[in-house]
């Protein structure tokens, strides 16, 4: 009887540790008085990581010209195939970007975008970057297609962003806070 094989213990009827089972009740009861870990989202927005990849934006030069030259490298790099660029020639009367061409149409389909940031990496002029905003829900799929005007406009700041200092120190951020 010294060797109790696994097969025998498998059919064991009662919990072999009744005291521990009762201890479990104490554990669950104690939890009630702790503060819940839930973050009440719409009221409290947890600051995102500074390099968090959210909604895109297009940039302009200081003189007002668009940085984008319509090269479509971002569209080529996009794994989700959600960027559509149609380029047109700049003319002396209508100069939109400093290069030869500019993006006549620049659309991002946000319902397909996977926020990988490859467009940002591919761009030779830093014309497109990913911002921090993640509140991109819409009632209509068509509204998910962002046009060039929407992307060029100064985005509304909806989401708090954590202090970059917190992350760029060699001390881990969770210790730096205390």
């Amino acid at each position: 009887m010294s060797r109790r094989c696994a097969r025998e213990t498998e059919g064991l009827l009662v919990s072999p540790q009744p005291v521990d089972t009762l201890k479990g009740f104490g554990v669950t009861f104690k939890q009630i008085f702790k503060k819940p870990l839930t973050m009440q989202y719409p009221e409290y927005k947890r600051p995102v990581y500074p390099r968090f990849r959210g909604r895109h934006r297009l940039w302009r030069h200081e003189n007002g010209l668009e940085k984008c030259v319509g090269c479509s490298l971002c569209a080529a790099a996009c794994p989700a195939d959600c960027i559509r660029v149609v380029a047109a020639e700049n003319t002396p009367e209508n100069r939109v970007s400093p290069g030869e061409r500019y993006a006549r149409i620049y659309e991002i389909n946000m319902s397909r975008c996977i926020f990988c940031g490859y467009c940002e990496l591919a761009c030779p002029f830093d014309a497109i970057t990913l911002g921090n905003d993640y509140e991109l829900a819409e009632y209509d799929r068509d509204d998910q297609i962002y046009t060039k005007d929407m992307l060029l406009a100064e985005p509304i700041k909806r989401v708090p962003v954590a202090d970059a200092e917190l992350y760029d120190t060699p001390i881990p951020y969770y210790r730096a806070r205390s």
């Binding site: 059919g11 009827l13 009662v14 089972t21 479990g24 009740f25 554990v27 669950t28 009861f29 939890q31 009630i32 702790k34 503060k35 819940p36 870990l37 839930t38 009440q40």
Partner: protein, 333 residues
């Protein structure tokens, strides 16, 4: 003392509505308490502290489509949830909640229907309620529902035996099957939870199994099965099944209070017994909390463990308890 029939009717109406209200807020209490035990808040969006959540749930259930499988057998399919909900509610009629009051010219009893065999009536209604679960799964004409109802059936039938046997000790001690008498007998003696501690324990455990609550919630083990016997139900029909389960839980807690915890009596003092319903309700809340606490603490049993636990441990213990109680009662008298 007799009372005119219309007083009983009014009482029945009030009690049914109170039980339904308790049911609705038990769901909220459960979600809140479970949430806090898991370091969450639970529902807190609908109204202050989520107090309107049950109402929101009700509106949602009523407005939802009541899906009807094409192959289902109509009459039993529709009737099954009704039977379950009805029997669950009807069982509350015989549970005493107060001493009785003299209001104006009439005497109002503290129970809707004072039946001399009320304990048997409760168990009989419970057994009929099980038919709702079985027939509902069968009439859905879906193999998963059928399997689910068979699981439910096997579990409920096995545990009903030990449930009925566990109260036998109380019946022998009190010498009556009437719940009103059983409560009266506890007024000036120890509550039966002390002399019948084993019976109380068996009653609680098999009661948890009987209402298919965690850790015995195999009929609808939500992490493992889709739903069990009510897979093909939706909308308010599903809501009726859910209601039946919660009301069964409330009835069972009420029964445990009546049989073992002194019913509507306040402990050690009798000056405040006219507030019977209040004490009853407070005890009910404590027991409901224990049910929820159990759910938060214990993991689900395996099916073979459930069966062997019911037949090989609970049943012999309940039988022994009844036998020993009978011997002691005979020996003392």
């Amino acid at each position: 003392m007799t009372e005119p029939w219309w007083i009983s009717a009014i009482k029945g109406f009030v009690i049914v509505n109170l039980v339904l209200l308790t049911f609705a807020y038990t769901t909220l209490l459960e979600r809140k308490a479970l949430g806090r035990m898991q370091l969450r808040y639970g529902p807190n969006r609908a109204g202050p502290y989520g107090l309107l959540q049950p109402i929101a749930d009700l509106v949602k259930l009523v407005r939802k489509e009541s899906f009807f499988p094409a192959a289902a057998i109509d009459v039993p399919y529709i009737l099954a949830p009704v039977v379950s909900a009805f029997t669950a509610l009807a069982a509350f009629a015989v549970i005493p909640f107060g001493n009785g009051w003299n209001i104006w010219r009439y005497h109002v009893n503290g129970v809707v229907a004072n039946v001399p065999i009320s304990l048997i009536l409760v168990f009989a209604l419970g057994s009929i309620g099980i038919y709702g679960f079985i027939v509902g799964g069968w009439a859905s004409e879906s193999k998963y529902s059928l399997l689910g109802s068979m699981r439910t059936c096997a579990q409920l039938v096995s545990y009903e035996v030990s449930l009925a046997l566990s109260v036998l000790g109380v019946v022998i001690t009190a010498g009556s099957l009437s719940l009103v008498d059983i409560v009266h007998n506890q007024a000036h003696s120890l509550w039966y939870v002390v002399p019948q501690a084993v019976g109380f324990l068996v009653f609680l455990i098999s009661g948890v199994a009987e209402t298919s609550r965690a850790p015995f919630d195999l009929p609808e083990a939500e992490q493992e099965l889709v739903a069990g016997y009510h897979t093909e139900y939706s909308g308010m029909r599903w809501g009726l099944f859910q209601m039946a389960e919660y009301v069964n839980m409330i009835t069972l807690s009420g029964l445990a209070i009546t049989l073992f915890l002194g019913g509507w009596h306040f402990p050690f003092a009798h000056g405040v017994d006219f507030l019977g319903p209040l004490w009853f309700f407070l005890k009910l809340l404590v027991l409901l909390f224990v049910f929820i606490w159990l759910r938060a603490t214990l993991p689900r049993l395996r099916y073979d463990q459930l069966m062997s636990f019911g037949w090989k441990i609970l049943l012999p213990v309940a039988t022994l308890n009844a036998l020993v109680t009978a011997l002691v009662v005979v020996w003392v008298n």
